[in-house]
Assembly symmetry: C2
Homo-oligomer: 363 residues x 2
């Protein structure tokens, strides 16, 4: 049995501890093998312990960073006050959603976000979850945890549901607006490792997002990236893909620059909202459709569950020397729970070390 410690920035997001604490509770309930004693270990010791328990039987501990009074009040509401697997670390600042990255970095050195990241750096936690300001989280994470050798900036990666059983990992989702071929190549390497580690896919199919599948399509940069990916023996590069293929499940990893990835992701959120609203309106049209809606509700609920974005909450900042999961700012309890689970999975699979090994073996 291994110990796993997750650092939670309780002050990020729109709802702070009132959402984070019930999600922590949900996670504690899931991982019921928790021991009653809260230990502190060095990073090395923790890694050794985790290695000895690849089956995933875990004691999960939480280091909660933020306003102690607020956290205690929510722990009390959730009836997990004095839970042995929970520690509280008082912070002195909150990073606001409106703060510039530089403000968070230079002026808020005792913020819950920064303290949570420092606890990962110092080996007191295996992973950090925050729903805070994305730009600030990236800047602080990069400063505190540092990048893996050869990687300049983190990429944001997330699993997207598809029509097949598997998800597809899409990256970058907004951390890197301009990407040269080297960076796009690194995205493919990192996505490949994440997909292998988390989803257990042996040889993930990798696609490079473009405006057409034909080799002649797209910018010079994309053509050079395609060549780099083709030539790499460790990658199962399958060519250019168009954005409609994100959802078909024919690919496991799709690589693009942060501007396009962010736009595609947000457009998908907007369209989901548009379509579910249109569906709701169709059922509210008149008394007859409202009557049908009563019967159809269980089916619509199945549909909503299937496409529930909460299940896909938790984008990862990949390329850092530690696991950092970004939860959506507006995430509810259930969505936050999924972000915590994502952090746990990545910590168990030691994604950063695996990426490092892959990058080193490529030299």
């Amino acid at each position: 049995m291994a110990d796993l410690k997750i650092a939670i920035d309780c002050m990020g997001g729109d709802f702070g501890p009132s959402v984070v604490i019930p999600a922590v509770h949900q996670s504690l309930l899931k991982h019921q093998n928790s021991s009653s004693k809260f230990k502190s270990n060095s990073a090395l010791g923790l890694n050794a312990e985790l290695s000895s328990s690849p089956t995933g039987i875990l004691n999960v501990y939480f280091n909660l960073f933020g306003n102690e009074a607020g956290i205690l009040s929510e722990l009390s509401k959730s009836k997990i006050l004095n839970h042995p697997n929970i520690s509280i670390i008082q912070s002195e600042d909150d990073v606001l959603m409106t703060d510039k990255p530089l403000t968070a970095l230079k002026k808020k050195k005792r913020s819950s976000m920064r303290l949570a990241l420092e606890s990962v750096r110092d080996g007191r936690s295996h992973a950090c979850v925050s729903a805070g300001n994305t730009g600030a989280l990236m800047a602080v994470a990069r400063f505190i945890l540092k990048m893996l050798p050869g990687i300049e900036r983190p990429a944001i990666i997330s699993a997207i549901p598809t029509l097949k059983d598997s998800s597809v990992y899409l990256l970058d989702l907004g951390a890197n607006i301009d990407c040269d071929e080297k960076r796009l190549f690194q995205f493919a390497v990192m996505g490949n490792v994440l997909c292998k580690s988390i989803d257990g896919i042996q040889n993930p199919k990798i696609g490079l997002l473009n405006v057409g599948e034909e080799e002649m399509k797209g910018s010079e940069r994309l053509k050079i990236t395609a060549k780099l990916l083709e030539e790499h023996p460790g990658l199962n590069y399958c060519g250019f893909v168009e954005a409609n293929q994100i959802f078909t499940g024919d690919y496991h990893v799709i690589v693009t620059d942060g501007f396009t990835g962010n736009s595609v992701l947000k457009a998908s959120e907007g369209l989901s909202e548009f379509l579910t609203t249109k569906l709701k309106l169709a059922f509210q049209r008149n008394w007859w459709t409202k009557w049908i809606a009563i019967f159809a509700k269980p089916v619509i609920n199945i549909f909503k569950h299937e496409i529930n974005p909460e299940r896909y909450n938790g984008a990862c900042f990949i390329g850092l020397r530690g696991v950092v999961v970004k939860s959506h700012g507006g995430a509810n309890v259930n969505a936050t729970f999924f972000a915590i689970e994502e952090a746990i999975s990545q910590a168990i699979k030691k994604v950063p070390s695996r990426i490092r090994e892959t990058l080193e073996s490529n030299k």
Copy 2:
């Protein structure tokens, strides 16, 4: 009463005349004021006639370009053989979906696509509709029709449904992979004119797609574009928008580069397919859900009609000296009909001349 002549490339798309001819028939039925005599006019004469009939009471004529035998066979099936409003112009080549733009341009000088565009250039038609190879259509249209003064390349623009009553015009959808600030600015001007002319919006709200709404977000190029748009008195520029806002209906025109626009549009197509498939599967789950599906079908049909992509078929190549509407390669009869209607609308509103006037008044 005015005469309007539409050039149709019957050989483009996946289905050729078998889809195009029934769509032409549908359009003929809609515009029933057709006279029985087919006339030929110069561009000037035609424009003068159209000007005299702003109410839209039209005689619509079709110049059909392609394989005469194939077209005649389909006209016969649709029972509009020898229809007085139809002329057939035999072509000698077909532009294939796999043809490079240069091949279409240099080696297929008697293709149905090119002849249709030449008929617009020579004033024998007011607009051209083609479901052919996008790259080829753009290259040939640019060569034959030429660009409006000050515009280097066409942009692809299309109306997208939103949660409000109005659509939003999104451009560029793939014609310009790399766009500098000048080009993005021109997109805004052209989108503004199209929105005013076609939808009658007095002062369209214009947004510039970015990864965040804050002024500090995005590339230098976007910041410069924002400044150009802000400073222009004739444009109602409303700032950066994120891609989820495409569907809210809060904007009338959203401007982006062709790579992002194309990716957002295709991702939306893919997600629509994903969500409607998931909805279908939820209703096919077991005998009970299948039973509910029988009752819910009329409601689901309302929903499907509301979001029907066929209604939004017909992207326009804007910035040319003539109206060119690109129908989807896989468009069915109904979708092709909507593309023809789009061409008719743009020809009536003389969109290219209006853009020209606006650009000239900006000098």
